[in-house]
Subunit: 444 residues, 2 copies
């Protein structure tokens, strides 16, 4: 994806909050979400984050701020889900992002398009005054398994030889996940009940999950899909991707280890999945693309998973952090404890490869479908994207600065995921926050 | 579920086609679907099958045929999907079925409710003149694995000891399936491409599936769901189930065996799933309930999967057949070859147990969600619900009467599934037909 003036770090907005050093949402980002004023019964509608504000796209459209394709795209965004907008494709996505960039860069642009002075301010709502809903009606959710370091960390816990399944090196493996239980940052996640087999026992028992975990992932929203029976080539795959958000794939490890053979994870994962509200567009991420490489000794990808662009710039350097708030840190006003810091650039398979593989057999993707990247772990222990890896299956609890320890999550824990891209000469592009709180099990 | 006058075999309709001996759709059935006149741009809307006709519920509502809860339910059915009707719950479902039973049993009923003479005929459309769409917007599709005979047949092919995974005896195992590729009877299923590892080779290759198979299943439509974080008890589970249809879980065995570890089936299953258009209500199936038993030596179900009613009448005796039409049988006007005849009553886990297990960890089901029963195989070879079982993994091709043989499906093959219930003293309740045709692979 080419870089253009919307990636220029020197571009500033007339909205000062967008120019603050540590904002996740400068003028160069412009991520999309769906919101309404908190506590109202207004309709949810599409918006774009800028600084500490939400740009109300419906209001801006009504004000006549756009014309041509950007106007059509903004009208599609005024709905309660972004599916129709996604379905318009990358030319429309770009038209709207570029129009927003122009309008919020200089006041001259609003005068040029004949807008009343100050009408743009009237289309802004402070982020602290809004609530969000899922940005799209998600038709299907697929969770991948694409981090070699995650795979190695997990396999070491369950197989003495520590050898990753041979297909891992040949395909971005995946399974279908649960759509109904996907929620948004702020989700309260009830600790699930389920069957688990205690070591040394012959018979399983039912109980509240004792090994509740998070998984640090990125969510990938499909923009445009494909007809059933056709495939999306790896070369064109990224044109089908709208953008990315943060995803917490909550996992019940004790339930998982008993249920997972032979059909894969089911109840261990389907009780909740949490997304951050803002989708960062692939266009905004363009400056942070990186070379995708794998060891020479590993199998090179089959032709349908390989293209010059995949190799040259298939990776994306997205910095990711997981932090833990506990009841104690909250009560005492302590900072959350950082558990993980890694980057998406280590991933063994790229976003384009996930899309190409998903459709190679003719499975149809639809606008608004969600892919999970799979747990994102880097090569060192501090870069592991789940507690099961950080604590070696719970055997080595981690210590928190306040003296608490954790093998797995406890009731009242809040998992906070953040993500951002930075590179000298470019504006910092943030994902905002993905928070989820563990609430106690209840046999209801 | 109690039996009442709507199960009375002696009840006849004034619509003679509903009284024909071999109709799948007598007055006692009244299955629900969504249809429109074929080749038109009419809106799809809910209908009920009776004999060779479709009762247009929207037209019947407009004519004032219903009142009270039945009228509300019929209005909900006039939409392009039955989700809202499903969400009304079993009292509403029953009210509408009973009102239809009365209206089509005797002409007196239409006079009683003040309808014009012959208005009911105007609300009928011949089934041969309509086309169907999916009866509900399916939010999530979950495929179970609940036939012990199927599990044993499969395990024998892949494990020398032939021992079924120990969790099979403790829980109705399942995985999430693909919603986007679910189609209706008549679906043309393109043979998928995918990765497979040929025996003796070190590296996988990409090619058209060489081991394309069907799986005989029942589709289970969820009527009313549950809130996230709560569960549905096994005692109340059937009140949440609207009804059943025939389901073909197309499977690419060569792709499956290479991809399935450790996350379960993915591309091997997500290219297509085919449903029959009519949903037979749980109420219509009430006379065919059967005792659910398992060998004394097997583990008895954990309390959350056990109730007196599950044991007394958890099974359902639904006769199921798979037949194969080939290019040759079609060209020469030969009858399709019957491949399988079995019954759903052999299933190791019941519908109520599937629902209770699915929600035990708080996963929320929604109106219109679809569960697949998993392959339905009985204890003998002739009762196996998939070619991989009938042909021992392809090693023992089956002969067709016209001299052809099949290890797996060939291009042009049409898989025809049918189902029905019969029991002395009760009307025969049919499911109609589920047809799907294999079309050649295309690298498009």
């Amino acid at each position: 994806m080419r870089l253009d003036h919307t990636h220029d770090a020197s571009a500033k907005s007339w909205l000062e909050a967008a120019n603050v050093n540590d904002t996740p949402f400068p003028l160069q980002n412009l991520p999309f979400g769906v919101f309404r004023r908190a506590g109202t019964v207004e309709g949810f509608r599409g918006g774009v984050a800028l600084g500490d504000q939400v740009i109300d796209l419906g209001a801006l459209t009504d004000a006549g701020a756009f014309d041509g394709l950007a106007a059509e795209a903004a009208r599609a965004c005024a709905q309660a889900s972004l599916n129709a907008f996604f379905g318009m494709g990358p030319v429309a996505w770009r038209a709207l992002r570029h129009a927003l960039f122009a309008l919020f860069k200089t006041r001259d642009e609003s005068r040029r398009v004949g807008l009343e002075v100050d009408i743009l301010e009237k289309c802004l709502i402070a982020q602290c005054d809004v609530e969000y809903c899922l940005p799209a009606q998600i038709g299907d959710y697929t969770d991948f398994y694409t981090s070699i370091d995650h795979a190695r960390n997990i396999v070491k816990l369950i197989r003495p030889d520590g050898v990753v399944s041979p297909n891992f090196h040949w395909m971005p493996s995946a399974y279908h996940g649960r759509v109904s239980s996907i929620g948004l940052s702020g989700q309260r996640v009830r600790r699930p009940f389920g069957q688990r087999l205690t070591a040394g026992r012959q018979e399983p028992e039912v109980g509240a999950c004792a090994k509740l975990d998070y998984e640090l992932e990125l969510g990938i929203f499909i923009g445009t899909g494909n007809e059933q029976g056709t495939r999306i080539s790896v070369e064109s795959a990224e044109e089908h991707v709208f953008g990315l958000c943060l995803l917490n794939d909550w996992s019940a490890r004790d339930i998982q280890s008993w249920e997972a053979a032979p059909l894969g994870p089911f109840l261990a994962k389907n009780f909740a999945t949490t997304l951050s509200p803002w989708i960062v567009t692939m266009e905004a991420l363009a400056p942070f693309r990186a070379q995708w490489t794998r060891p020479e000794s590993d199998p090179q990808p089959l032709p349908y998973l390989s293209s010059p662009e995949t190799h040259a710039s298939g990776a994306i350097d997205i910095q990711l952090e997981v932090a833990l708030e506990t009841g104690d840190t909250r009560r005492n006003g302590r900072a959350p404890t950082r558990l993980t810091h890694t980057s998406f650039r280590h991933q063994y398979w790229t976003v384009a490869q996930m899309v190409a593989h998903h459709t190679v057999g003719g499975c149809n993707l639809r606008s608004g479908d969600l892919l999970g990247s799979g747990t994102i772990s880097g090569p060192t222990r501090a870069e592991a994207g789940a507690l099961i890896e950080l604590t070696e299956g719970g055997r080595s609890p981690i210590g928190l600065p306040n003296g608490e320890t954790r093998s797995f999550l406890e009731d009242g824990d809040v998992v906070v995921m953040t993500g951002w891209c930075e590179r000298p000469g470019y504006a910092r592009i943030g994902f905002g926050e993905n928070r989820g709180e563990v609430v106690p099990a209840k046999w209801a």
